[in-house]
């Protein structure tokens, strides 16, 4: 890809054996808006702050949580434009899988292919790594699943995870609150409380986004009104 003048990798090993560009990419993720995900016994919830640069921005034109397939959703922390590229590529891969096997792509497979793309950009010539970490939430024959993919292309399955600015506080909070037999509704409440912990300003349905998937296997993003209802319950 690209000009032959750049047919060498920009991500190279430092003398101590580190891939410094990936570390810098992780720094970019760490300064992004907080997002988190929780796997419940009967579904998965992912959520993120939605802080817009100005009140003049039309918040209905922005949706951070995206669908990859009807039963897999994704949220990111870090550089928004980079996440769009990954979402687009993953959607195509999911469709190609379906065309070949006439079956919906399992969550693990889609995660693996997305991660492979991210890894490619740490090794190919003339490109930089993606400045995003993704939380992929899905429900397939193996039940509810939550995966986190990092700029290096490594991925793990999580019971609950957080990324972005407030990651350490959020993770501590999640560790305390997480239980194996949590149900989806409880998970949504916990997600909201975790976001609230590090939130600056007044939290409302307009400045956070929440996506859920339950046993119905249909991923959907909650409307601001539904989020406000959950917020009222949490108060």
């Amino acid at each position: 890809m690209g000009d032959s003048q750049y047919s060498f990798s920009l991500t190279t090993f430092s003398p101590s054996g580190k891939l410094v560009q990936i570390e810098h990419a992780l720094t970019a993720v760490g300064s992004g808006q907080t997002s988190l995900g929780i796997k419940a016994s009967n579904g998965v919830v992912i959520a993120t702050e939605k802080k817009l640069p100005s009140i003049l921005v039309d918040e209905t034109s922005v949706q951070k949580i995206q669908l990859m397939t009807t039963n897999i959703g994704v949220v990111y922390s870090g550089m928004g434009p980079d996440s769009r590229v990954l979402v687009r590529k993953s959607r195509k891969q999911a469709q190609q899988y379906f065309r070949l096997y006439k079956e919906a792509i399992p969550v693990t497979q889609l995660v693996r292919e997305t991660a492979a793309v991210m890894q490619e950009f740490t090794q190919s010539g003339g490109v930089r790594p993606f400045g995003v970490s993704l939380l992929i939430a899905g429900y397939d024959d193996n039940g509810p699943q939550l995966y986190q993919v990092d700029p290096s292309g490594s991925y793990f399955s999580w019971k609950a995870s957080a990324m972005g600015k407030n990651v350490s506080n959020a993770k501590t909070f999640l560790e305390k609150r997480y239980t194996e037999d949590m149900e989806l509704d409880d998970a949504v409440h916990t997600a909201i409380l975790t976001l609230k912990e590090g939130f600056q300003g007044q939290i409302s349905g307009k400045n956070i986004e929440i996506g859920i998937i339950g046993a119905d296997r249909k991923f959907r993003v909650l409307t601001p009104a539904e989020i406000d209802d959950y917020l009222a319950e949490v108060e």
Binding site: Q21, H24, V85, G131
Partner: protein, 244 residues
């Protein structure tokens, strides 16, 4: 040639700096400001309007050839703030893209689709070393069949948002502060053409002649993108000065 561990090359091509930033993208933003002009875009209930300064540096120049306001299709307009050459390249590609869309899918390219296309293209320039980001902030405007008047702003980093009102260029922050204040005082405030022009005047603290600004408009009852003539701009300016 650059061997990237970031040893100084994070300023030359778009690789990450130790703080996780992309210096080339940040410099592209500075290039937009260096053009020395400010633009404002506003979206009202039934219309969208963009206004920009028109600086003609030499009296011998043909003023009609100095423009930052471009029709992309009959119904879509694009205001490119920043480097003129990058703007023209972008407009050429956008026109091609919109025409292909119309041919392929049989209906006019919507505003947000064009904005997303440009934003995704800008993102590629931030990730691939062989092409630099464009030094242009683009405001795309049009009337969407389902959503009504739309104004999108796309920047060199690949971000794009829909806006109720926004600004770009040298006095971008002052203009946004001005527009935010109007919004805070009245959340249902509907921005119209006169708001855009008077906002630009107050932010730049000068009164314009009709030949010193460009104004582009789309209206629900007349969805074709139009650049206002000097006479029409004059009418607005007179109305503003009489009001004050």
């Amino acid at each position: 040639m650059s061997r990237g561990t970031g040893a100084g090359y994070d300023r030359h091509i778009t690789i990450f700096s130790p703080e996780g930033r992309l210096y080339q993208v940040e410099y592209a933003f500075k290039a937009v400001k260096a053009s020395g002009i400010t633009s404002i875009g506003v979206r009202g209930k039934d219309s969208v309007c963009v206004v920009t300064q028109k600086k003609v540096p030499d009296k011998l120049l043909d003023q009609t050839s100095v423009t930052h306001l471009f029709p992309i299709t009959k119904y879509l307009g694009l205001l490119a703030t920043g480097m003129t050459a990058d703007a023209r390249s972008l407009v050429q590609q956008a026109r091609n893209e919109a025409a292909e869309f119309r041919f392929k899918w049989g209906y006019e390219m919507p505003v947000d689709v064009l904005a997303k296309w440009y934003a995704d293209k800008s993102q590629i320039y931030t990730q691939h070393a062989y092409m630099r980001p464009l030094g242009v902030v683009a405001m795309v405007l049009g009337i969407d069949e389902e959503k009504g008047p739309q104004l999108f702003k796309c920047d060199p980093a690949g971000h794009f948002f829909g806006h109720k009102a926004t600004s770009a260029g040298l006095k971008e922050q002052e203009a946004i502060n001005f527009l935010e204040k109007k919004m805070k005082n009245d959340p249902a405030f509907s921005y119209e053409e006169t708001t855009a022009i008077s906002a630009l005047q107050s932010v730049l603290q000068e009164d314009f002649k009709a030949t010193e600004i460009e104004v582009g408009v789309v209206r629900k009852d007349d969805p074709a993108f139009r650049v206002l003539s000097t006479e029409e701009i004059d009418e607005h300016l007179t109305a503003i000065s009489e009001r004050d």
